[in-house]
């Protein structure tokens, strides 16, 4: 059943509930942060509207910098601002930032310990019709590998807003991951959120499998958990919005309790959330694991729903993975 303490939206399982892209939450979070702190500045690389940086740009024109199509300069300029008392957010598509400017982020932001927040947009295969060039599916891996970098993957627009506001208050580099397409808004303002702290969204009485997810696909995992319960397969669904630093204690204790794990993410299975969880569990609580995500392939153009279906990230795929991991348990 749903964890009542998670205070999820009443419409969580409804197809008619509210929907919004997580990038909208970023835009709202920027305004809130900008109002609270004059040091918050925003940089964009010719994707101001699409990354939802426009409202900030209009409200605080003196604190907004249009960089043009030049992501490397944007990152290193932000690094200079970040060591000079400012709290810069850099906005672009994740395939370009942190894709193209990864080295500038590594050297001038992470190693240099500059207070920069990197917002990667259009992540995951559900970026859709633009095709694989614009679908960032390796960004968690490349950012997670970097010392002194935090990685937060919000599951809906409300959590995206909270993550944006929270990251402005954390000293140091943070990577925030957003998606393009509308997805269900299934958390509420009351849903607990603290960077680095995983939250249980679904918990059955005698759970046999732990489903760990991040990003909007987490809601699909919740639907799968509900369907599985009808088949007497009990589970826990854990929202690991912060992929780095990982909430190790919670993941280890729940993995021990359940005895098997399925990770769910709209990202390559190599090096993403699943990889991060496996690194911890192989050390501290080895249990059978299955990984939902892109299986070492690039995406293509299509509708988000078609792509998630074709590339193995739909609700039935999660159910199948759960059944598979349970078989391996015995």
């Amino acid at each position: 059943m749903l964890n009542p303490d998670a205070k999820l939206n009443f419409f969580v399982f409804s197809d008619d509930g509210p929907q919004a892209p997580t990038r909208n939450g970023y835009g709202e979070g920027l305004i809130i942060s900008g109002e609270k702190d004059r040091n918050v500045v925003v940089l964009s690389a010719d994707l101001t509207e699409s990354t939802r940086s426009e409202a900030f740009a209009q409200k605080f024109p003196e604190r907004f910098f249009e960089c043009g199509v030049a992501e490397q300069n944007m990152a290193a300029t932000a690094a200079g601002l970040g060591v000079s008392g400012k709290i810069p957010f850099i906005s672009s598509y994740a395939t370009f930032s942190p894709g193209r400017n990864w080295e500038q982020i590594r050297t001038t932001i992470a190693y240099n310990d500059s207070n920069v927040k990197i917002a990667g947009h259009h992540t995951g295969i559900s970026t859709g019709p633009d095709g694989a060039t614009h679908q960032a599916t390796e960004d968690i891996a490349i950012m997670r590998a970097m010392p002194n970098m935090r990685v937060i993957v919000p599951c809906d627009a409300v959590e995206a807003k909270k993550a944006t506001v929270a990251s402005a208050k954390i000293w140091g580099p943070v990577y925030l991951r957003f998606q393009r397409d509308k997805t269900p808004v299934f958390t509420t303002e009351q849903t607990p959120f603290a960077p680095g702290k995983a939250e249980t969204f679904w918990e059955s009485k005698r759970p046999k499998v732990l489903i760990i997810g991040c990003g909007p696909i987490l809601r699909t995992a919740l639907v799968a958990a509900k369907e599985l319960e009808k088949e007497k397969i009990e589970s826990i669904v854990l929202n690991v919005h912060t992929v780095k630093p990982l909430d190790e204690e919670k993941i280890v204790s729940l993995a021990k309790k359940c005895g098997s794990v399925v990770t769910v993410e709209e990202h390559q299975v190599n090096g993403g959330l699943g990889g991060a969880v496996a690194e911890v569990l192989s050390r501290r609580a080895p249990v059978p694991m299955e990984f939902i995500g892109l299986q070492n392939v690039f995406g293509e153009s299509g509708l988000p729903s078609q792509l998630l279906e074709k590339y193995g990230m739909s609700m039935p795929h999660i159910k199948t993975a759960v059944k598979k991991v349970l078989k391996r348990k015995r």
Binding site: V41, Q72, N73, A76, T77, A79, G80, T107
Partner: protein, 297 residues
């Protein structure tokens, strides 16, 4: 900035010569590192740290300090020497360059060493980082955007960059941005020494006409002899007087300057000393210092 009178000039020439000797000693002791670039930058390092910069070595985080950014991080030995000799950290520590547990990393790292404004080494991002500092200064100097705790942005930002670095796309992204935003508190100094690892810049990937390139990106351009300290001081003074543009000072320098067998030879960009070579170089520098002394007497 005070006037550069004759006595100060003599002092600065002596500092530059001292820094050159430090560079040879440091790199030779470390067994690796770059020599030619740092030797060519000795006058620039001396005149900035001992005359131009508004800074407080004993209070390296002073908010109003001028920012001095070394984009071509591999030339750090000469700037480490300048930092130590101007009082940021003990001179003795120069001996630890590139050693384990040292604050003097092979390429400069901001968070460990006082006086280092930003981490650098991978080429092409220093002008961008300087732009960020210049923008922050503008914001802090603006009553509607300055925040509590800021020094109100009274500082200037200086960035030393190499000529080879102008082959990086990032460099031109930055030059475009600074021109567009009329960052008059930013001054870039190009160490135009014509060498890079694989050879002479104009053979590897021609940069000329460099002046025209900067001008077409809406920068104010000055060209000087990078070993002439009066010219360096005059150029910086002119840059401060330019209100509508950022300024670039193209400083023509001689790589390996001061050591006869190293001058102009690109192979000295990063090659280690063989036995006896460092001693020979230091001997030459000592002779040069002696000459400077006698010229001023």
């Amino acid at each position: 900035m005070e006037i550069l009178h004759e006595k100060k000039l003599k002092y600065l020439e002596d500092v530059a010569s001292r820094l050159r000797q430090d560079v040879i000693e440091m790199v030779s002791r470390a067994g690796s590192g770059h020599v030619a670039g740092p030797l060519g930058l000795a006058e620039i390092a001396a005149v900035f740290y001992f005359h131009i910069l508004n800074h407080r070595p004993k209070n390296p985080k002073w908010p109003d300090r001028d920012r001095f950014v070394v984009s071509n991080g591999h030339t750090c030995p000469v700037f480490y020497a300048a930092l130590a000799r101007s009082g940021y950290f003990p001179i003795e520590e120069l001996k630890t360059l590139r050693r384990i547990n040292s604050r003097l990393q092979g390429h400069p790292h901001r968070t460990v060493l006082p006086g280092i404004e930003t981490t650098s080494g991978p080429l092409g991002s220093g002008i961008s980082q300087s732009i960020g500092m210049a923008l922050a200064g503008k914001l802090d100097g603006n009553p509607s955007t300055h925040s509590t705790g800021s020094g109100h942005g009274k500082y200037r930002v200086y960035c030393v960059t190499s000529d080879g670095e102008h082959q990086e796309g990032n460099t031109w992204e930055a030059i475009m941005f600074a021109g567009k935003n009329k960052l008059n508190n930013l001054t870039v100094i190009v160490d135009r020494n014509n060498i890079q690892i694989d050879g002479f810049t104009e053979n590897i990937m021609p940069l000329e006409p460099l002046r025209a390139k900067y001008e077409s990106f809406n920068w104010h351009v000055l060209e000087i002899d990078g070993h002439n300290m009066e010219q360096i001081v005059d150029a910086v003074a002119e840059a401060r007087a330019i209100y509508e543009k950022p300024t670039v000072i193209i400083a023509h320098t001689i790589p390996g300057k001061g050591v006869d067998f190293m001058e102009h030879d690109y192979l000295w960009h990063s090659k280690p000393f063989k036995s006896g070579e460092a001693e020979k170089a230091i001997k030459e520098l000592r002779t040069l210092r002696g000459k400077i002394e006698s010229e001023h007497q």
